[in-house]
């Protein structure tokens, strides 16, 4: 038995030690994005189905929902673009992600010990980010056409026809990603939700879910850029 195989005396405390994961700016931006997306989601669902039209009432009625929906969409877009600027490097897909993607069934079955180690974000998180990013680009382009639909001349009506279909389809894709994101961070992965509130995770959390990132930062230096 080597000394390495025996946990150090302070291991229990060591595991619970907090290390920073998200800066204040990242967290503030996340919650601005989360609230604006939720607002756009609820008002959007009100326009999606007559059976959900009552959702418009909780934000002040149909005309108010129609007026505010694009503005909250814009706020979310700005928030997402800032995230893109900050996290673009962290979100780059690399060779490690390909191995992780192959092992994804283990991740889904909560057998995380069978997964290759991952950096600050795993491949699933990267898929989520780029999915939302592409979805929002489509939502933005089609959203502008729907926002000022009366400004489109009759000869450009094909833009309206395309916009209503693409806007709804892109929204559905982001809704799917959003549901998975909320489920995983609030319910599934313990410690995730708290990390986006306080900014901190335990060493054990970082070691369990983002081992490469943990190895990089445990000395105290964050090799983010």
């Amino acid at each position: 038995m080597t000394s390495d195989a025996v946990p150090r005396a302070s291991a229990a405390n060591h595991n619970e030690e907090l290390i920073p994961r998200y800066t204040f700016g990242e967290r503030a931006n996340h919650w601005i994005g989360a609230l604006s997306y939720t607002f756009a989601l609820l008002t959007g669902l009100a326009f999606w189905s007559p059976y959900l039209y009552w959702l418009a009432a909780i934000v002040g009625g149909g005309p108010t929902a129609r007026f505010l929906h694009p503005w909250f969409g814009l706020i979310f877009t700005v928030s997402l673009f800032w995230t893109f600027k900050e996290w673009r490097r962290d979100m780059e897909v690399d060779d490690g992600d390909r191995a992780w993607a192959k092992a994804m069934p283990y991740y889904i079955q909560n057998e995380d010990d069978k997964l290759p180690p991952v950096g600050r974000f795993n491949f699933g998180q990267k898929l989520f980010f780029w999915g939302i990013f592409c979805g929002v680009i489509l939502l933005l382009l089609t959203g502008v056409a729907l926002w000022y639909t009366e400004a489109l001349p009759w000869s450009w009506r094909f833009v309206r026809y395309a916009a209503i279909l693409i806007h709804a389809s892109a929204a559905l894709i982001t809704i799917g990603l959003f549901l998975i994101h909320v489920y995983m961070s609030v319910f599934l992965e313990e410690g995730s939700f708290g990390s986006m509130v306080t900014g901190y995770v335990t060493r054990a959390w970082a070691w369990t879910f983002h081992r490469t990132w943990y190895e990089e930062i445990k000395g105290g230096s964050r090799s983010k850029q």
């Binding site: 326009f47 007559p50 009759w154």
Partner: protein, 298 residues
């Protein structure tokens, strides 16, 4: 007919059934526009403005009789002029009174997300209820005739009501009342269809318009405004009247298969996530283990 236009048969953005639908036997009303006897005097435009309480809009000049390019939110009735050169070199001034066609299968209503912002009465009139309109403009996307127009001041959409307020008390629409040549007629759909057909036959058999016919497009299950045209094979000549109007395919796809697919995916996704939690439970952090060299636990 006074009860006819208070009975609804379709309501936009409405969950569930239509209250009171199908209780009475109703007349289907119809406006007949005979473009072959229209002289383009614009009396119908004036009558429309008068009755609905709008003022004249600023006109434009484009070297023709056309006073403005298309109808506006506060100008529901507009004669479209076209100086048409026929095959033999002679000129015809085609004039068509443009207004809401009151489709039997209205695209505006199909696209509208706001509960009861657009209704269809049992007599066939399709009417906008501005109190319920949210100003999204989806009706403008759903309409194949470029009729609903957005008012930036009101942030709501407006169009011809077929004088629902007059028809519901037994009067004919204001435009019909004002027409000096008798090219406008109002009655039941059956009567107007017969009258239009008689006139088209006359144009074909007596006046030498071989392609004369009635415009009552089947793509929107017929309309409650029908035209007699000298050349029913080329309705586009009459100020861009569409040859085969129908609710845009993208609107059908969006309100049909995409809606069902989306609802199924959203509900299925929620159930799937709940199933995942019950099957696999939460992911918990593990105490740190010494590295065995490959980054995995020993």
């Amino acid at each position: 007919m006074s009860q006819a236009s208070t009975e609804l048969i379709r309501i936009s953005g409405h969950p569930g059934t239509v209250p009171g639908a199908g209780l009475n036997r109703e007349f289907q009303v119809c406006k007949l526009v005979d473009t072959t006897t229209c002289i383009g005097c614009k009396a119908c435009e004036v009558a429309c403005l008068e009755w609905n309480g709008y003022t004249f809009s600023e006109t434009t000049f484009d070297n023709s009789y056309q006073t403005m390019p298309e109808t506006a939110w506060n100008y529901w009735n507009l004669i479209k002029f076209n100086e048409h050169e026929r095959a033999d070199g002679s000129m015809m001034l085609l004039m068509r009174k443009d207004q809401c066609m009151h489709c039997e299968d209205p695209g505006c209503l199909a696209a509208c997300p706001a509960d009861a912002a657009i209704v269809q009465y049992a007599n066939g009139i399709v009417d906008f209820q501005q109190a319920n309109c949210i100003g999204c403009g989806y009706c403008m996307t759903g309409c194949p005739f470029n009729i609903p127009k957005f008012s930036p001041e009101a942030r709501k959409v407006f169009k011809c009501t077929l004088c629902n307020d007059r028809v519901s008390v037994g009067l004919e629409p204001a435009c019909i009342k004002a027409c000096p040549t008798g090219c406008l007629h109002f009655g039941t759909k059956k009567e107007m269809k017969e009258m239009a057909q008689t006139r088209a036959d006359q144009l074909r058999d007596v006046s030498g318009f071989a392609d004369a016919g009635v415009y009552d497009p089947p793509g929107v299950s017929g309309t409650h405004v029908i035209y007699v045209l000298h050349d029913a094979k080329n309705p586009e000549l009459y100020g861009g009247l569409p040859k085969d109007p129908h609710i845009p395919y993208s609107v059908r796809l969006w309100k049909g298969p995409l809606k069902w697919l989306g609802n199924l995916a959203m509900v299925g996704g929620l159930l799937g996530l709940a199933w995942h939690y019950m099957r696999f439970g939460p992911k918990k952090e593990e105490p740190i283990q010494p590295d065995n060299g490959n980054g995995r636990r020993p």
